[in-house]
């Protein structure tokens, strides 16, 4: 286990801030991603708003409108729902340079339960024009994303996770190009797993199990959920004719929907969406929740066998 994506991102942002004076942070009394000390480290560069997210999001718009790069950090449930209209109308519509860091996403949140688990944040943010959406799959990719976010100009949503998750990528070889999916495994043309976020680790376990069953899978990692890499999706669909999407998020409106939207129009093939099925989360151990919601490694193996049999 390494750092959580949220702590990795926050830690790197602090590193960058030491040499880059061009951005400020807005916070609303949470322990979201380790930026609580930002104001002490960098005097005058943190604005605290108390527990008042609508005001914070609008103030971020005001700061950005005066030419400053702004990071807003809070739990994703508050960023995307309590301050939803402020994100839409005052950040996305005027195309302001605000990066919204949404933490505590998916069932992985665990014990805090449904109120604090953002399982619909991608669905909400994805429909706003002008916004870009990124999600890292481990601490290494989160670290890289901090640099991408600092250099980015425009509305950006970064989806981060509460608990530590296994390291997957090698820092020296892993690369993120905005809007380009990464091929993480390519064992053959039986099925493609398209995954975003920390579920990548489980998908990699699943494809190894499938390989032992002589089923050869590909794995596409979608770090940029919007704009999604249509070309890569279509290529995978053409090559394998069977697609399984995996996300720690509701299957309605998230990655699975985004992939379906592209493929149903441009290359219809058999699909299966693994994710939360029209249900709220609940308190408990995340691994047990994944089993309950049919998002565990064995569910992925089963889904692959089923979908290949349909071809």
């Amino acid at each position: 286990m390494s750092l959580s994506t949220r702590m990795s991102f926050g830690k790197e942002l602090i590193e960058i801030a030491k040499t880059n004076q061009q951005f400020v942070i807005c916070s609303a009394d949470t322990k979201a991603c380790g930026l609580e000390e930002f104001g002490k480290l960098f005097s005058g560069r943190e604005f605290k708003f108390g527990i008042a997210e609508q005001n914070m999001m609008n103030a971020a718009a005001g700061l950005a409108s005066c030419g400053k790069k702004v990071f807003v950090a809070t739990f994703a449930v508050f960023a995307t729902m309590r301050a939803c209209e402020q994100v839409r109308t005052f950040i996305c519509y005027p195309k302001l340079n605000v990066t919204i860091i949404g933490t505590h996403t998916g069932l992985q949140v665990g014990s805090d339960g449904a109120t604090h688990m953002a399982i619909e944040d991608v669905s909400i943010m994805r429909v706003f024009p002008n916004i870009t959406i990124l999600q890292p799959s481990d601490a290494v990719s989160a670290q890289k994303m901090a640099h991408i976010a600092v250099d980015f100009n425009g509305p950006l949503y970064i989806r981060l996770h509460r608990n530590p998750s296994p390291d997957i990528h090698n820092s020296s070889t892993y690369h993120i190009e905005l809007g380009k999916a990464n091929v993480i495994r390519d064992y053959g043309n039986d099925v493609t797993f398209i995954v975003s976020g920390i579920m990548l680790g489980k998908v990699l376990e699943a494809v190894e199990k499938l390989l032992k069953l002589n089923i050869r899978a590909k794995v596409l990692e979608i770090h940029t959920i919007k704009p999604i890499d249509k070309e890569a999706l279509i290529k995978a669909a053409q090559e394998t004719r069977a697609i399984i999407t995996v996300e720690d998020h509701t299957i309605m409106g998230g990655l699975g929907s985004a992939v379906s939207e592209v493929l149903s129009e441009q290359c219809p093939v058999w699909m299966k969406r693994i994710g939360i099925q029209d249900a709220f989360g609940e308190s408990g151990d995340a691994e047990k929740l994944y089993i309950k919601h049919k998002m565990a490694v064995d569910d992925m193996v089963k889904a692959a066998i089923e979908i290949i049999n349909k071809k």
Binding site: Q54, N58, A61, G62, P94
Partner: protein, 291 residues
Amino acid sequence: MLLNQAANDTVSFLEQKAADIRKDIINMIHHAGAGHPGGALSAADIITALYFHVMNIDPKNPKDEGRDRFVLSKGHACPALYAALAERGFFRMEHLETLRQNDSILQGHPDMNKTPGIDITTGSLGNGLSIGVGMAMLASILDKEYNVYVLMGDGELQEGSIWEAAMAASHHRLKNLIAIVDYNGLQINGWVNDELRIEPLEEKWKAFGWQVIRIDGHSMQEIIHAFSISKKMCCPTVIIADTVKGKGVSFMENVAEWHGKAPNAEQAKKAVFEILHGGENNVAFNKNVVW
């Protein structure tokens, strides 16, 4: 208040400019066939004072980092703002006729990316003060001494986000933030204090840590005096401006129906006549007059 000749001239000039802007408002909304005349007319004197006397702005350099900022939190009153910007030279007067039409630079609510001189996109009520908080906070970091003016409606004070912003502004001692409440007393379905009481208003702002100035929002003399003293405070200032919805047009004054309705050709003609020559009570209204 005693005024010298120069100050008298300023007041006369601004009153004349406000009349021009009122005339523009009526013509624009009539031409568009939709819009919000009532709240635009109630805010016209305040907006005129800001754009022709108070704010440090340059139509030739509308993005200057050190300029004063204006946030029209009650975005539906934008015909008043568009008229002021055009009269001030931010864009050509001909654009006013394109309000709300396809491909116009003048949207139904302010859009900072389409209209020169608009500092921030607004329209959804209750959000402008928070945006002003962010703008005001940055002045010290940019090492600039600009002021941020936020014009709010009275009805939108019913939104909770306004009071989040009010708390933040005093907490952060944003003395360069000056809010104005266009207290015309009416919202779309009737009297504000019948729909959801906002009184006691002065006490509310004081309790949130603001300096409160109460004025007649149609007295140019009082408006410019209030702005002048608001710059000298050590905390955020709110100017509560008592106004009349539809001010300057007798049949629109204090009539909630004119919150969001366009005048027809005859109504527009009558309205412009009243604005330029005084109300029906002052001047015999002649339908055949050429103007």
